[in-house]
Amino acid sequence: MTLNPASRPTRPAIAQAKLWLQRNLFNGWLNSLLTIVLLVFLIWAATILIRWVFTQAQWAVVTTNLRLFLVGRYPVDQLWRIWAVLAIALALVGYGWLVGRRPMTSDSGGVNNLRSLIANPYCLLPIALLVIFWLLGGSLGLSRVPTNLWGGLLLTLIVAMSSTVLAFPLGVLLALGRQSSLPVLQGFCTVYIELIRGLPLIGILFMAQVMLPLVLPGQPNIDRVVRAIAGLVLFNAAYQAENVRGGLQAIPRGQTEAARALGLNWVLTLSLVVLPQALRIAIPAIVGQFISLFKDTSLLALFALLELTGIARSILAQPQFLGRYAEVYLFVGLLYWIFCYILSRFSRRMEATGLQRK
């Protein structure tokens, strides 16, 4: 069957196209039938869709509310602060990319080495997050913008980012606890992880909104956004712990034994030998978890927060745009899709190339 392409005269383009069609769409009567039926269906669906997009849909609901979709009711005269936050975020991403590209050298592994600590983008994240919260929320020299004015894509991104950054260390600790040989510690961590993973996120968010103020001392008036982030952190930490545990289990026992034989105590064994390798293995799963967290932030809409999905619902309540469901939900879906798709491509590339880097 296989022909040597070199021994064959180059075919004209039309013949090549015919060959491709024959191989990929019309090999055998069953496939030909399938192709024709699908083509008819696709053309029918495409005409309906195109007619709807260009003649029936009224996109004014999106164009007039674009700012609401992106930043919610954030004051217009303070929008420069969001641009500053965007600049910080882009700088962080660029910095992380640069650090990730630089080949690791033998001297860049020391924990005592301040330079390597600063060079680690993850250590910069909590600081950056504090600056971002200060920029957005105000006080200390900036006018205050209460969180009920934050909304749209801005709130979605802030909530997703901060709950990931906060959940990650908790997840690493839980994973280490679950792997530990101390039965009490292992028991607590296992129970926590399995309990959280058995519950729906909506239940945990309910708990965070309703129970959190009840179990804290005094009469705490905790911000709704903070309560939501707390719920997402508790939820996400259990899943991150399982991802990290997957990485830990992939590290051969010999690594720990070699480190112990070199005289490292357990803190140094973990931080210099085991965790750096385990986390690198777990990166694709961690990014995958971030994607699902990003999608899960939409549940905050059910708790009266105006993130992307929530703001879509409140825009649909505007009297002049009643019933424009399809336009709004398709637009919001597109925004979510762009972020998730880029991240999932990134994670797949990491999976393919990330392990080769030494």
Binding site: N24, N31, L195, G198, I202, A312, A326, Y329, Y336, C340
Partner: protein
């Protein structure tokens, strides 16, 4: 004589570490519990499940067992639980069918089929389920024509009053939107699992099946798929658990599942702790049941070696 000081004794530290962890966790729980008690006392709520026997007073849109607002909260919660179980069981079946079809289609020799399946997976997996549920309910089911002028197709009749299945069964728009949304969303994940499972079967199995004279459909059904199941079942179980937990998003489309009824009960009684406990225990038992059944099935399909 043992001269090792206590401070350098590993066994002492292992014991002390655990004792400290135990004390820390217990005192944290005690601290939170004490706050809870005080705050509840301030609100004038005495913990207890007695309220379950009082009259619910709210109507439920659809119920599998007789229910009226005069019934108790416990009856209302039972109605919600049965609705949850119904949508979970139906969702698992439909999602599995969609997922297996799309997973096999992803590996089809037909370019069009392969890429249609790819577009389905990539588009629907990367958007939130909640948004998809809103879309199905508001933009699709509630935008259908009135019940007196339904769209008829293959014996089904579609209107904004619901779907009428041949045989006279009527599915409410809430149930249909939830079922469709859950099944289509979970189907994308199952499709990827099925594709991975089929690809994990060595190529020699296809070749051997072909050389024994099996037809292409038989090759898949009799030779490849049973072997692929070994790689498919464990991750499939995770997706089943996800579907069961995601069914709690029913509240978004107004389908009265367990969470929706519990949430209404909370709004009427303010019993946060009790309702939280009820929801948690129920969903944990549902999760446990699903993993138990899947483990049993998994043991059956696994390779039996010497």
């Amino acid at each position: 004589m043992n001269t090792t000081s206590l401070w350098r004794n590993v066994r002492f530290w292992r014991f002390a570490g655990q004792a400290i962890a135990l004390i820390l966790v217990l005192s944290l729980l005690g601290f939170l519990g004490a706050n809870l008690n005080r705050n509840l006392a301030q609100l004038g709520l005495r913990p207890g499940f007695g309220f379950l026997q009082s009259q619910a007073g709210f109507a439920i849109g659809e119920a599998l067992i007789p229910y009226s607002p005069a019934n108790s909260y416990s009856r209302a919660l039972l109605v919600g639980l049965l609705n949850s179980l119904l949508v979970i069981v139906c969702g698992l079946i439909v999602a599995t069918m969609i997922g297996i079809t799309a997973g096999i289609a992803r590996l089809s020799g037909n370019w069009l089929v392969r890429h249609l399946a790819l577009v389905y997976v990539e588009v629907l997996r990367n958007t939130p389920l909640l948004l998809q549920l809103f879309f199905w309910y508001f933009a699709v089911f509630l935008s259908l024509p009135q019940p007196d002028d339904p769209v008829r197709w293959l014996g089904f009749s579609f209107s904004n009053g619901g779907i009428i299945v041949p045989g006279g069964l009527t599915l409410s728009p809430e149930f249909s939107a939830l079922l469709l949304g859950l099944a289509i969303y979970t189907g994308t994940f199952i499709a990827e699992i099925v594709r991975g499972g089929i690809q994990s079967v060595p190529k020699g199995q296809w070749e051997a099946a072909r050389s024994l004279g099996f037809q292409p459909a038989q090759q898949m059904r009799l030779i490849i798929f049973p072997q692929a199941l070994r790689a498919i079942i464990p991750p499939l179980g995770n997706q089943y658990l996800n579907l069961a937990k995601n069914s709690s998003l029913a509240i978004a489309v107004g389908f009265p599942d367990l969470y929706a009824v519990a949430s209404t009960t909370f709004n009427q009684t303010g019993r946060a702790v009790e309702i939280m406990l009820l929801i948690s225990l129920t969903y944990l038992s549902i999760s446990l049941m699903i993993s138990l059944l899947l483990n049993l099935y998994n043991r059956r399909v696994q390779l039996v070696e010497r």
